[in-house]
Amino acid sequence: MNDYPLRFDENKQTRLIPFIMSGDPSLDVTIELIKMMEREGVTAIELGVPFSDPQADGPVIQDAGGYALANGVSLSDVLTVGKKVRQQGCKVPLILFSYFNPLLQYGLDILAKDAREAGFSGFIVPDLPFDESESFRNTAKNVGLPVIQLVAPTSEQRIEQIVNGAEGFVYCVSSAGTTGMRTHFSEQITDFLANVKQKSQIPIAVGFGISTPEHVNFFSQHADGVIVGSALVKQIAKRREQLLEPKHNKEAMEEIATFVRSLLRKA
């Protein structure tokens, strides 16, 4: 039922899952960014829906969401982005990343159906922990889409239960705190990832704070996929004006592509 299923290609040495905020700096640029990242060979893309109160996010993604909201970007617009890139032949899996309230107000049943029709491959809802997610997981399952579950180093005895009910992949949160770039990670992180990997029947990906090619390289040895959000969002935010100007757009897009390539170690 899912036209664009999540797949973790075993032949790739780096399976990168970038996050971008829809509508930063514009919905058209978001479409261009998706196409560019598909060309660069990313494994999937998390497409953020802006929210007024992003409780799990650090300053960079808060700022990107605030910018998109000021532009009037809504969940419907993000679904339209999916529809448009599919019409243009994009095949890369797209994960709708949204806080729960915008989904709830849209209506969960109709959202699942619309997201499936718009060519999305799954959902991540950062403020919907496993215990609260059963009903939405069932709704999404009915249209063939997974609701990706997060586990954190603090999940401890919860890990097994979450992993057993997980679909798509397991999103491992690297460390306590919000999204955002970090300079170092705890030494226990590899034990945590090994523990989740051992319990999980499906691929695991790791995110939160991963910002450099060195980080991506390191985590690729301990997880099936690596998620980069804030570092990429910052590269985009830095070039808002150029991206919006036809004269400079190409150059700015190429600079961002170079950053993505460096994460994929193809530079």
Binding site: G66, V173, A176
Partner: protein, 396 residues
Amino acid sequence: MSQAEKRFGAYGGQYVPETTMNALMEIEAGFKEAMQDEEFLAEYRQLLKDYSGRPTPITYAKRLSESLGGAKIYLKREDLNHTGAHKINNTLGQALLARKLGKKKLIAETGAGQHGVATATTAALLGMECTVYMGEEDVRRQQLNVFRMELLGAKVIPVHTGTRTLKDATNEALRQWVAQIEDTFYCIGSVVGPYPYPQMVKQFQRIISDEARQQILEMEGRLPDDVIACVGGGSNAIGMFAAFLDDSQVRLHGVEAAGRGLETDEHAASLSKGTPGVLHGSYSYFLQNEHGQIQPAHSISAGLDYPGVGPEHAFLKDQKRVDYSAVTDEEAIAAVKALCTLEGILPALESAHAIAQAMKLAKERSQEDILLICLSGRGDKDVETIREVISSEGTA
């Protein structure tokens, strides 16, 4: 654990990032244990008595009642607590629990600054570190309370994101808590947030009505006809209603802030004008647009300036057990003046909303009727705001 235990009907729950879940489970277990622990409860009661000065009295507002010509009005004097509001009932309870759980640091959000002051006070008393997150706009409005918190040894961190008020201070406190969850306890100031906070804060605030119910029985020999409290997040109201919920003959009234009017966009009446949604960890009523984006609230009272409300209030509204109404900035100011000149009591602007609604009700009631209002805090912190309004009225 059953999902029902986490909710009031459909409302409540735990809509938080997975990184927070373990800490919530730890608090839940600790809280349940503490409620069975005689030593814990004895220390809590001792502090309420010797430190905060409980029980707070109820005062018959004779001249106010007579001026309205209707029901007899009684005030539950939470303004006479140490630090000047009901907030300390909760912070003493939560800080003792934090200590029991081995946490050394308290963090809190604050709007008007009353909860921040109460948390800072409690942290000083128990020798704990304290950080308070406060919206930049509230820092400006409530400078005196910022200074009080700092004087009490707390660190006040202004929050520059979003609407720069209580909502955003709560976001930031939640974010910062996650980053230091091992050694830090988040002391939430109202009956909001994820389970078990609404249930826990209720438990620590129900002392208000446990006392008041007994006191009115002693003074009048019967229960009141109406009980009235203001509602922002709703902690003083839940505390004031708790002991009366099963007394079906007692009418309960929650009073929200109508700001510049319910017909405008500038109010904080989540129950009267909002819709169900999810924010700050629970399913409740919020001011939001059709896309689920939370909208700014407005009230002259910083403590009511919040676009949401505790989940139990949402439940009590749906059950029709509590009647929720709203009072404008202007009506609240008029109530401040009335209570000052007729009773010699300066109420907090928050509490003035309850007074204003009670003044309307009293006129409709007979002289045999009894109204009991929760006077949740004193108004010293609001003198500057009130002075600005009154002096601008004078020149208008």
